[in-house]
């Protein structure tokens, strides 16, 4: 197994980017499943590595992990900023598959997951590029459309405006519900959506709005599964546990090793 720090020039973002990658051991001629794992607000490409045991988990399960840093962009194509959505959804898989020959390009081998802002991000990216990612795993995810915005002319507001503009997010590409509805209308392939949240999460109510939306869809077209964690909040313990359970749920590298 290798742990790789990668730095390259992104044509999409027009700047150098940092990515951390776990390359598992693979039988000759075989390809590995890939987990695309997104950080939360104020985080970067080192976030999951420093705050959880993701590297050890990946090694034990024999899965590759790609952890990009997106500079507080929420993984979206910003209204007034670079196109981080296209970067993580299109360019990053293309570049990494051209580098790491053991990465499987089958959608059923590709999982997109994230925590907090990355939870929102992974649902958005998974719904936007369903031919690339077969599975979504969102850990503490709210829909940006459910956040009321009052411009207080501070740094946070400035960041919000740069990402989403000043107006409503409802009905735009930045709304998870809008993305889901559009995808259903388009008749393209659909990802499987898994969503976890801790009972003490400060944004628990926002998570429930996402849950209500998906559970309200007739026929459960996204095979949506929700898991609530009693006793946990918006913490590193929560996200590490949630990731581990997600990997168990999809039987990734478990064999006899469900833990």
């Amino acid at each position: 197994m290798s742990f790789v720090e990668l730095n390259f020039y992104s044509d999409t973002l027009q700047m150098k980017v940092d990515v951390n990658v776990v390359v598992p051991d693979c039988e000759p001629g075989k390809k590995t499943k890939v987990l695309w794992l997104y950080h939360g607000g104020y985080g970067d490409h080192s976030d999951w590595v420093h705050n959880t045991n993701v590297v050890r988990m990946a090694k034990e399960r024999g899965i590759a992990v790609v952890m990009p840093g997106v500079h507080n962009s929420c993984f979206v194509n910003m209204v007034n900023g670079p196109a981080y959505g296209t970067y993580v959804g299109v360019e990053l898989p293309t570049v990494l598959r051209s580098m790491f020959t053991v990465f499987s390009a089958e959608r059923t081998d590709n999982y997109v997951c994230g925590f907090s802002n990355g939870g929102y991000g992974c649902i958005k990216i998974g719904l936007t590029y369903p031919e690339t990612f077969g599975y979504i795993g969102a850990f503490a995810a709210g829909d940006q459309e459910d956040n009321e915005f009052h411009n207080s002319a501070d740094g946070w507001s400035g960041n919000r405006i740069a990402m989403f503009g000043t107006g409503e997010i409802k009905g735009t590409e930045y709304s998870l519900k809008h993305c889901a509805r559009e995808l259903l209308r388009s008749k393209r392939t659909l990802p499987v959506v898994y969503h976890a949240c801790g009972e003490f999460d400060p944004w628990h109510d926002k998570n429930q709005l996402v849950r209500n939306f998906f559970e309200g869809l007739e026929g459960n077209p996204f095979h949506y599964h929700y898991k609530e964690y009693t006793g946990l909040g918006h913490t590193n313990v929560f996200r590490e546990t949630a990731l581990n359970d997600f990997l168990n749920y999809h039987k990734i590298g478990t064999d006899s090793r469900l833990r």
Binding site: M1, S2, V4, E5, N7, V23, C26, M99, T101
Partner: protein, 256 residues
């Protein structure tokens, strides 16, 4: 050029511990289906894998060439199999290329693999090329330490010389004496790698370099030997990089 820093666990059995290696990878090359030529570039004594990257314009010079550059750590090993463990030579010639070729689209063909280095690394490049001519298609030495036998009389290394190269009376058969390795190679009917040997005229190692180049000539082993104004320093080794790219005859793909 993408920069990658690998921490490789458990694949390098000879090391018995994780190894770090830096790789410069041409992610914007024209033909993504072709396997990539690879240059293994070695640092000198007191150095590590970051030397070439931090002290020269290596990345700027290789930008646009369809070649990957692998920068391994050699510690102060002279890139030999140490008497205590089989490590650096086996690592460079077998384990590292095999591992990297299994996960990156690097060519495993001899004619697509090159090895070069400065000082201890110049010696290291020639040591691998002369003892394992089937692995690398070309090798280059910049200010190389060519005369190991002479080192037994000196006290320049922190470790006793015999702890690196083995006992003096076994030096000839160990593969660590370049003169003996060249003699053995000239007797075998094998393809000899393309060789380039550079040394600065102000370098204290000039005499052993001349002696070695002369020995290759007498053995009818072709080598491009060149002396030019320069000392045992990074200014000189930076110029060697330009000469190396010409020597390897890899066409530049992209003008940036």
């Amino acid at each position: 050029m993408a920069w990658m820093r690998f921490q490789i666990s458990q694949h390098i059995k000879t090391a018995g511990m994780p190894v770090s290696v830096d790789v410069l990878f041409p992610e914007h090359r024209k033909n993504n289906c072709e396997k990539v030529k690879t240059l293994y570039l070695l640092h000198g004594y007191h150095g590590d894998r970051t030397d070439w990257l931090l002290k020269t314009n290596l990345l700027r010079k290789v930008e646009g060439y369809p070649i990957a550059v692998v920068l391994p750590d050699g510690l102060n090993s002279f890139y030999v199999n140490l008497p205590s463990t089989h490590y650096f030579s086996d690592y460079l010639c077998q384990e590292l290329p095999q591992y990297l070729e299994s996960i990156l689209p690097l060519s495993d063909q001899r004619e697509d693999k090159y090895i070069a280095g400065l000082s201890m690394g110049g010696y290291g490049a020639f040591r691998q090329a002369l003892n394992h001519p089937e692995v690398f298609g070309a090798a280059a030495s910049f200010s190389g330490v060519m005369d190991i036998r002479a080192m037994y009389q000196m006290h320049m290394t922190t470790t006793p010389v015999s702890h690196i190269f083995g006992p003096e009376d076994k030096l000839g058969e160990s593969g660590n004496d370049l003169f003996a390795a060249a003699r053995r190679l000239s007797e075998e009917k094998v393809d000899v790698p393309k060789l380039m040997q550079l040394c600065g005229t102000e370098d204290p190692l000039l005499e052993p370099n001349r002696k070695f180049a002369q020995a290759l000539k007498e053995l009818n082993i072709p080598v491009m030997y060149e002396e030019s104004p320069g000392a045992h320093d990074w200014d000189y080794w930076e110029q060697c990089l330009d000469k190396l790219l010409n020597f390897l005859e890899i066409g530049k793909e992209v003008t940036l």
